[in-house]
């Protein structure tokens, strides 16, 4: 697989919050290489620094230490223009759909922003609506039902799916999805995963899944990174990591997933 292009990589990436006694090393000297059109999962328990890592990749947090390389070059997002350009390439689905929306704006505004970002400001209204309807259709939502509503009038799952609909409009090169299906039922989850995979195949998008659900990671990804307390403790292809875990931590993550066919051992926590 050496011929694949590295799309996003980082060396020694570190983020420290606070100082003195309240110092938290959220991400601790992390190295990674994400290839083009690859599906990567970053798996770890809560507080292991997954979201912090994602925010650094997105340019929403400045790393304390370390470098990020985008398409082979050192990432430069020093001005608003460069940032805007960067964000055309990399987009995100945030962890908590309830806090991802500006509750004072109607839902249409979120989708319109995406169309504008792709230079569609001058499109006729009918075409904008068509685009938005199509994007909602991808995630099993009906645009006619959502238009003119406020975010708090949707259910958690509907909010999360709408976030994914954004991505269908933006078609970025890299998508960081932070627990994108935590509030979605299994059936729709399957549909949405299918859709995301389809989108990846169509436009060669790199998909970075952030999840604590190792089952989901195993199901979707090509390679898996396991994070524990800010460090990457194990990484490799999905089969390698999940079927033959080397770290005790990884084994624990696997055992904590609720099972149906096997006994789910509650005594281990």
């Amino acid at each position: 697989m050496a011929d694949r292009q590295v799309c996003l990589s980082g060396t020694g990436l570190t983020k420290v919050f606070g100082f003195g006694r309240q110092k938290t090393v959220a991400v601790d000297h992390v190295d990674f290489k994400f290839y083009e059109s690859e599906v990567v999962s970053i798996v770890g328990e809560s507080g292991s620094g997954k979201t912090t890592l994602a925010k650094m990749l997105l340019g929403l947090l400045t790393p304390t230490e370390g470098e990020i390389y985008f398409q082979g070059q050192k990432r430069d997002i020093s001005t608003q223009r460069k940032r805007k350009e960067y964000w055309k390439n990399i987009q995100a689905i945030f962890q908590d759909p309830f806090s991802s929306y500006n509750i004072f704006n109607k839902i249409d505004a979120v989708l319109l922003d995406c169309i504008y970002m792709r230079g569609g400001r001058r499109l006729p209204q009918a075409q904008k609506v068509a685009l938005m309807t199509e994007a909602c259709g991808f995630v099993n939502l009906k645009f006619e039902e959502l238009t003119n509503k406020y975010p708090f009038e949707l259910s958690g799952g509907q909010m999360q799916r709408l976030m994914i609909a954004r991505i269908f409009l933006l078609k970025p090169k890299i998508l960081i999805a932070d627990e994108p299906t935590s509030m979605i039922d299994a059936c729709s989850r399957a549909t949405i995963l299918d859709m995301l995979m389809q989108l990846r195949d169509e436009i060669g998008m790199t998909l970075i899944f952030i999840t604590h659900d190792i089952g989901l990671a195993y199901y979707v990804s090509d390679s898996v990174y396991i994070m524990e307390r800010g460090k990457i403790v194990e990484h490799g292809s999905a089969d390698e990591v999940i079927l033959n875990p080397k770290e005790a931590y990884t084994r624990r993550l696997i055992s904590d997933v609720p099972k149906i066919y096997e006994e789910w051992d509650l005594s281990t926590v």
Binding site: K55, L58, L60, Q80, R83, K84, W87, K88, Q91, A92, F94, Q95, D96, S99, S100, Y101, N102, I103, F104, N105, V110, D113, C114, M117
Partner: protein
């Protein structure tokens, strides 16, 4: 939005506060239209006329007369000139003079007066009679003159040539005039102040000016506080440090002291109502800044702000669109508090004699100041200060009520 408004107007506290405030506002707006008196015109010669209806005596004489045969007229007339206390005092004097108590019936006016007229002698030595008491009896004696008379009063006019009095008409004891037909009647519900100015008119004007000062001061303070708070909270880093340094500086100096110093240095001459409002505004933004900043700091890491960034929006757009609406309710509450504290600050300054200069407009604080300087409290002229106090209290009370009402709606944890 509609739901929130619905909730707000279902909060009893808010509605009560709002109603009080609206009533005050309506009075302030409607009163000058109905009664366009100049608020600072000196109408009374003399100080602190009590509240009441003032009927012009000269005009009453000339007004058409109507005879009303009312039984108790004479009794009321006597009562108004000879009170129960006076009767007891007269009895005391007579007893002191040597008349046995049993012979005096203080309820029989004719008998009492008869005894008094035969025996009273201002020079008589009564044991235990103080000088003040002696003077009181002399005054009482004059007042009693003609009390039982039933004759008409004669109105006479001085002949400009001869200087002799010429009878023009008579007024019988049962003559009445209709107040509506008297040319000059002035109702002074709150009397006049030490300068002889109509207090109600003045109070209404003062309330308006004080509200204006409060609004201007509140809006200035809120605007400054909001802007600095937003910048410090959202941009962070150096901007935050600088703004917080200035804010902390202002926090350690009590703002009222600062207010006094600035007002003093501006000088009496240049201190108009607007200037005072601006000065108050510029010294009271500090806590709005702190409060807004704290809110913004907790908002700026929210994902909806991140999403807005990822959508390529500028800082200004994010602040206006993604931050401001979230703290709007908070800012409204801060504004209300700032307005009411602006009004109180003005009152405080004016009581110290550092308020707006006195010749143009009254303010609530100035009215308090005048009442204080002219010792209305000591003299018991309650109408000069009590209405002002009540007005100040009502305004701040209504605003604080609105504020707690809003707080309960916006801050569900406080809802009981």
């Amino acid at each position: 939005m509609k739901h929130t408004l619905h909730q707000i107007f279902h909060s009893g506290k808010f509605v009560l506060g709002f109603c009080i405030f609206i009533v005050i506002l309506l009075i302030v707006m409607v009163y000058p239209v109905l009664f366009p008196y100049p608020p600072l015109a000196i109408i009374g010669q003399g100080t602190f006329f009590a509240p009441g209806i003032y009927v012009n005596a000269y005009d009453s004489v000339h007004a058409p007369k109507y005879t009303l045969n009312l039984e108790d007229a004479a009794a009321k007339r006597i009562a108004s000139r000879l009170s129960e206390d006076d009767r007891v005092a007269m009895q005391e004097w007579l007893v002191g003079y040597g008349i046995p108590q049993g012979e005096i019936d203080i309820n029989d006016t004719a008998q009492l007066l008869g005894l008094w007229n035969t025996h009273y002698d201002p020079k008589a030595q009564i044991p235990g009679l103080t000088n003040a008491k002696r003077n009181y009896y002399i005054r009482l004696d004059t007042a009693l003159e003609g009390l039982l008379a039933t004759e008409d009063a004669v109105i006479a006019v001085k002949n400009p040539e001869t200087g002799a009095l010429e009878a023009q008409g008579t007024i019988a004891q049962s003559d009445y005039v209709n107040v509506g037909q008297v040319a000059n009647v002035r109702f002074l519900p709150l009397g006049t102040d030490n300068f002889g100015r109509d207090i109600l008119t003045q109070l209404v004007a003062a309330t308006r000016v004080s509200l204006q000062i409060g609004f201007v001061a509140g809006i200035i303070a809120t605007l400054i506080g909001l802007t600095l708070g937003l910048l410090a909270g959202y941009i962070g880093g150096l901007v935050d440090d600088v703004i917080m340094f200035i804010t902390n500086l202002f926090t350690v100096i009590p703002s009222f002291v600062l207010l006094i110093l600035i007002s003093f240095s501006i000088g009496q001459e240049r201190r108009g109502a607007v200037t005072v409002a601006i000065v108050i505004g510029f010294t009271s933004w500090v806590w709005t800044t702190r409060a807004v900043r704290a809110q913004v700091v907790s908002l700026r890491n929210r994902d909806h702000v991140n999403l807005s960034k990822l959508s390529g929006h500028s800082i200004v757009h994010i602040i206006l669109n993604d931050i401001l609406p979230y703290i709007a309710s908070y800012v409204v509450m801060a504004l209300i508090l700032q307005i009411s504290s602006g009004i109180l600050s003005e009152a405080g300054l004016s009581i110290l004699g550092l308020g707006p200069r006195t010749t143009e407009v009254p303010t609530l604080g100035l009215m308090m100041n005048w009442a204080m300087i002219y010792q209305a409290y000591v003299l018991g002229k309650w109408w000069a200060y009590l209405p002002v106090l009540i007005t100040i209290a009502l305004i701040t009370f209504s605003m604080n009520l609105m504020n707690t009402g809003l707080d309960q709606v916006f801050n569900p944890a406080l809802r009981d």
